[in-house]
Amino acid sequence: MRHFDSRVALGVAIIGGICVLWLLATGILIWSSLDETGQDAVAATLMPSLELLIFMWAISLTAVGFALRWLVAYFMTAPARLAEDAQVLLRTDVKRQLKPTGSIENRRLTDLFNQLVQQRETLRDDMDTLVQEAASNTELEKNRLAALMSELSKSVVVCNLDGRILLYNNRARRQFQRLSESPKVAAGAELIGLGRSIYGVFDRKLLTHAQENIQHRIEQGVASPSTKFVTTTQSGQLLRVQMAPVRAAQMENKIPTQMTGFVLLTENITHEFEALSHQEHVLNTLTERSRAAIANMQAALDVLEYPDLEPAMHENLLSVLREETQGLGERIHELKATTVNGFMSHWSLENMQGADLVEAAINRINALKGITATKSSIDTSVWLKVESFTLLEAIIYLAELLQHEYGVNKVQFRLGMTEAHGQLDLCWTPQNNDKGITLNCEKDSIRLGGEESSLTIQDVVERHNGAFWFEHDAESNQALFRFLIPLAKPQEQLDASALTDKESRPEFYDFDLFKASEQTRSLEDRKLIELSYTVFDTETTGLDPAGGDEIIQIGAIRIVNGKLLQQESFEQLVDPQRTIPAVSIPIHGIKPEMVKGQPVIKEVLPAFHAFVGDTVLVAHNAAFDMRCLQVKEALTGVVFDQPVLDTLLLSAVAHPNQESHGLDTIAERLNVDIHGRHTALGDAMATAEVFLHLINLLAEQGIHTMGQAREAAEKTYYARLKY
């Protein structure tokens, strides 16, 4: 149906009005120029045909209307329709040709539009093909990487610069579970997981130091700028770690110097180390004791050669020989029994330019308050074989000792070398030229990463197969600590050709994983979809945690980057050390015999706290579950101060008009299947699914950030009800 066009009506009305006005004005003029007879004659002529006149006026106006309508359609409606059609094409994916209408100009314009649409479609198809190819390549690379990772006998963890784990293999998972401080609770699942911080396992300063080392080497153009170190974990295990950089994407054949993350290859060498330490000890003792024995024998033999030896002395020396020969035989027997198969250096020493070590030490000391470090004579050709983290910590410890105990505020580094050793001196001028000054600090425990450790300076020196001592020259009043450290062969430097070779840079690092993190933004401003969550549920003996009801099961699952990580769950039964009321058993299905022998809450909560880490806690009716955790704070010393979101409150925000916000009802409303309802892990999984749906529903209401979600939740009716 063709619409009535008001512009045509307006045009007709104006033309009609003008005609009437013209007729009236002309009539009045003629009328006033006539005499009375003339006027009577005109009146007599026109009056009878007045109706005809009006009729003809209306006919003319209708004709004008049709003409106007055609003109409007031809010159104005056609371009307007073309504009509307073009907008539809612009905003949608509709593929159609526009029908040329209206003026010649308009038809030409329509043709042009059609050509542009055609061009767009061709481009879009090309793009789709390219995207599909790229996606299948990426998928192939991911599969290759996954296969490679699972085949590797070393454990591999890939992290971004914030230390967030982005990738790990199965071996790493198994190894980290063994490192757990509570391996019996939930199978030690709290240490490794996507998005978790690697600093839960390794000391942050240690990794930062290793990163700085690598960055420094990259800038110097070293071919393979990875670094190695050995470290003890919080649970006392010894790990040998190799860190390799993940670099930024290569641009225009320039070698990227920016790290975007790092790969850690780790090996647990606790047992290897214990065995090697024992072997080393046996060998060292044997060598020293044998040397002493042979010395005794040789000295005795030398004396026996004197012809004028008294008989008593002769007998004496013979018994020395007998005793020592027997002792030596026993020692060799002992050596065989210990089955020493090889003797190797177990500490992972890396090659490092001595000047770099000094530079790092100066930077660290200058960061301390009240003491400054400089260098006086540094031999830059010295390359050392060092375990730089512990050695630096030892040096820093000494500098702090000098400052705190002896008021030293200035130290100097010297670096030289002997035939086989680098000689690193930490020098200072003692305030009181006390002639008897001696400093015996070899047995002092040094701190590692700001924490006490059992490692002494002597241990560090022995790791290096080196020596350490204090010297004081009373005449010049100069004091120094000297480290003798084995020399390394200078590294092949500036062999950057290996980097430009395409083969050496596998392309499967092109994941989205290394994007700079959003850690700097406050939690309140961060988008719900990009946060990491631990969704959890507790089963209890009853509903009154303050009145003596206890947790009997905790289940939790993680959400990272909007994905539910089915593999990274926490499920643990807890011995409540009280009876489980019979009425509650049908609800949770946990019978007293099931919790017998399970860990108690004091053991479970620290592990659960570690599992949660710095994620956001999510629970359905979180007030109850949080209350259960809070009443145990005094007992366990574990405080759950992570931010909390409640799916019950969020559901009330999303659907304010619904009567029920029970987990079953919401799940049904959102079409979420619940498997294992009323087991802690089953409920946690259902809650997590519900939560992921709720994030989308909240976004439709303009609630995108953590802050907005909390604010909205606080305003709901349910939030005002205290548990």
Binding site: T287, E288, A295, N296, A299, A300, V303, H421, T438, N465
Partner: protein, 123 residues
Amino acid sequence: MSKTVLIADDEKNILISLEYLMKREGYNVMVAHDGQEAVDAIFREHPDLVLLDVMMPKKTGLDVCQEVRANSNFKEMIIIMLTAKGRDTDIAKGMAMGANDYVIKPFSTRELAEKVRNMLGEA
């Protein structure tokens, strides 16, 4: 007047031979069986030369050396370290602590005797 040599070692089996040898060389010989005995004997008797074992109970030879050298009256006294530890870092440390020479076990007693003679300026 004949010179005094102190032999400090906890191995009685080497003390027998070394004591005999040094006496035969014509020195006054004293023996010490641990580090503390050695320090006491040095400060009391001021020997001309000390044969000092490194690994001794109570005080190591290195400790003895450092303690004695800190006293300016004992700067000139000759100290020869005897040790079963053969690493060059150990030797460097011994020399830094103020030893005049360092002999690694096992050693030829004749060479040791010659070394003692040389160092006491009697060659």
